[in-house]
């Protein structure tokens, strides 16, 4: 076991979590209208089932999984489907979206569902139940959870790593989940361990959340081997490969997934969600979202129905300050800025961060002075300084040989660059350019 649980390199942005760290989760009222995109997860978008004019109950299926790496979309409130068409998506594009006019006086009680008795289920049946409930990773990437539950033939899974690091500044959704719903987290771990056939689980939590570490330790069930580890506070500690390095001191090889090392990583929020699936029968139709940042009047942790528009969420938090200038979905390190307040909260939305002119004012760029700070920051041990020069010269093939594929766009290099060179943005564009070249060739 390493002396301190961490990975090498990384950066230390101010965590700014105090705004919402101790704010209890509140349930937001149902908005007047919901917008549910068919593409809310990694993999194929869901296939549409609903038609305009359909009356739906809370939890009804609107679209079904299209293949194995896909999940269905459910109605997050009772109402009437008013439109199916293009609508602003949080990734900045337009996407096929089902809009629902929410019934004003509905009790919003979900249609009674059969709750599967998970103990008797085979791992295969657990996988199916999780897919049916539309569960995806709630840590931000929104990869379908059930896919990770089905290791490829011949892999021997030995450890379930539970991601409670939450290394992005401002965000406190995982923190509040661990503090307020520790039993759900443990129940989710129990189901997961059963499905995966592993007998060891480790929860990794950054040490800036001592209350979460204490509560998870106290509430851990006696009959399971669950340990809770305090991790060094460092960005990007919550990235799968860094988390596995910190907890198990294993280095996931380039181009491979954690499963190749016998490890499955799940976010605490996803586990709490799985617990709800097997305890209440409800699919993934709401999630905890941190609304924070210097530009929001009442920073909060909210349970938000999936599909709630950004505008409604911000209004519920008493709106934004006069100097608010940029709204980020996700954390401030990797999140995407929003051009349109009609874009909805989707399954993978961890937070809504409102920045003011002070933070979002563009800063002047200078030439690279080879200070080497990006090399010290890069958790993947790349040479961002060199990659940046190659990107500026549009030498994408050479970037590929310089291991661009290993870059996960965490933004640590851009964060430290004293010359304000938008390195991670350049790398994202270079990856896209390479992708285009490949599709042209194919």
């Amino acid at each position: 076991m390493p002396f301190r649980l961490s990975f090498r390199h990384g950066v230390h942005p101010p965590d700014s979590k105090r705004l919402t760290a101790d704010v209890a989760v509140r349930r937001m009222p149902f908005p007047a209208e919901l917008a549910l995109p068919l593409r809310q997860h990694g993999g194929k978008p869901a296939r549409l089932l609903a038609r305009v004019g359909d009356r739906v109950e809370r939890g009804d299926k609107l679209a079904e999984a299209d293949g194995f790496v896909s999940v269905p979309i459910h109605a997050s409130a009772a109402g009437t489907v008013t439109d199916v068409g293009w609508w602003p998506h949080p990734d900045g594009s337009q996407a096929q979206t089902v809009r629902i006019a929410v019934e004003r006086f509905s009790p919003q009680v979900p249609r009674p569902r059969i709750i599967p008795r998970w103990e008797g289920l085979t791992p295969q049946q657990v996988v199916e139940a999780v897919q049916r409930a539309g569960v995806v990773g709630l840590g931000g990437a929104a990869f379908p959870t059930h896919v990770k539950l089905l290791p490829p033939e011949g892999t021997d899974v030995h450890t379930l790593v539970v991601n409670g690091a939450e290394c992005e500044p401002y965000l406190t959704t995982d923190h509040r989940t661990m503090v307020e719903f520790p039993d759900r987290v443990h129940f989710g771990i129990r189901v997961m361990m059963h499905a995966l056939g592993v007998d060891r689980a480790v929860i990794g939590v950054e040490k800036n959340k001592p209350d979460a570490i204490r509560i998870l330790r106290e509430s851990a069930p006696d009959d399971l081997d669950i340990s809770v580890e305090g991790l060094t506070v460092k960005y990007p500690q919550g990235y799968e490969k860094m988390l596995i390095k910190a907890i198990l001191d294993l280095e996931v090889p380039s181009g491979k997934l954690p499963i190749h090392m016998g490890v499955v990583v799940q976010n605490v929020g996803s586990l709490a969600c799985i617990a709800e699936v097997f305890q209440t029968g409800l699919p993934l139709i709401e999630r905890i979202v941190t609304v924070s940042g210097p530009g929001v009047r009442r920073p909060s942790n909210l349970i938000v129905p999936v599909g709630t528009k950004l505008r409604d969420v911000l209004e519920y938090c008493d709106g934004v300050t006069d100097d608010a200038s940029e709204i980020i979905l996700g954390g401030p390190m990797m999140g995407s800025p929003q051009p349109d307040l009609d874009a909805p909260i989707i399954k993978g939305t961890t937070g809504v961060i409102v920045l003011t002119e002070r933070e979002s004012k563009p800063k002047r760029s200078y030439p690279c002075i080879s200070c080497g700070r990006c090399l010290d920051a890069c958790p993947m041990f790349l040479n961002p300084s060199l990659l940046g020069q190659l990107a500026q010269a549009a030498r994408y093939e050479e970037m590929e040989t310089a291991a661009l594929a290993d870059c996960m766009l965490c933004g640590a290099c851009s964060y430290v660059c004293p010359s304000n060179i938008p390195l991670s943005q350049m790398f994202a564009l270079s990856k896209a350019a390479l992708q285009r070249q490949r599709t042209r060739v194919a």
Partner: protein, 340 residues
Amino acid sequence: MTEPRLELTASPHLKARDSTPRIMWSVVGSLLPVIAAAIYFFGPSALIVLVAATLGAVLTERAFGPPGSVWDGSAVITGLLLGLTLPPGLPAWMCFLGGAFGVGFGKLVFGGLGQNLFNPALLGRAFLQASFPAVLTTWPTWPSEQANWWALRGDNLALPFMTPQVDVVSGATPLGLMKFESTPTELWPLMIGNVGGSLGETAGLVILAGGLYLAARNHLNWRIPVSILATVALLATLLHALDGARYPGPLFMLFSGGLMIGAVYMATDMVTSPVTNRGAWVFGIGIGLLVVAIRSWGGLPEGVMYAILFMNALVPFINRATQPKVFGRGRPAAGSEAPA
């Protein structure tokens, strides 16, 4: 709710506070005590030399550099560092010319900040040394023999292209004394700067303090000065043990000549030193070896300038040979050459 005017910028949306101009100006700030020591030791001459060299550097940057680049502070550093490597009695017009050459041919012709291969200040000094070898090696003696602090230590105000009148008492530097007359200098005066030499050569302890300040703020890579000084100290100890009369001891080696200012301020120039930390060790050890070799067996009493310039030329190769091992690959990425 009032609709905010939304901006769209790329992630990350947070930035560390440090910036390139901030690093540059903090280097300038850390030089102030060194400058103060130079003025204390060498009187108004020091001020004239420093101002002339800095003006040469800054005006060249202003005239030929990209708009606004004067404010990034790099030209000021070049001018000040050049000034600190010059003898106090050097005519102002030569100092100006050196600063202009350093920035013009040492940096701007390569494409400006970040593009140059050689340290601009040292290139300026090498140019002056080649052009005016005689005045560049005329050292006034330390003020204890100088009656008046206000007196100039040389013909600082000589008109351009005129041969300066040398009518001050001149003496040799400790390294010159050692090399050509085998006369060692006492250590304590050497460390606090009580000796003849260039403006910034003399106050070793003050320079070291500036280096500590910069290292603490992460404005210089501490591995470079540490490896240079350690290499020199180690080699000097070995040679001194072999032949104590011919080779001076480690403390003399460390605090004489331009080694301190070279190790702390010149070799650590981020642009012209390796970008990798392993490369920084290689770079520093190389400089240390060359300094001792030139001083011990070369024709010149001092070799810091050439040692650093030589290692500057090797930086692209050092960078290529010391690329980090990519996480999950166990080896460096292929094709790690900087674009031409």
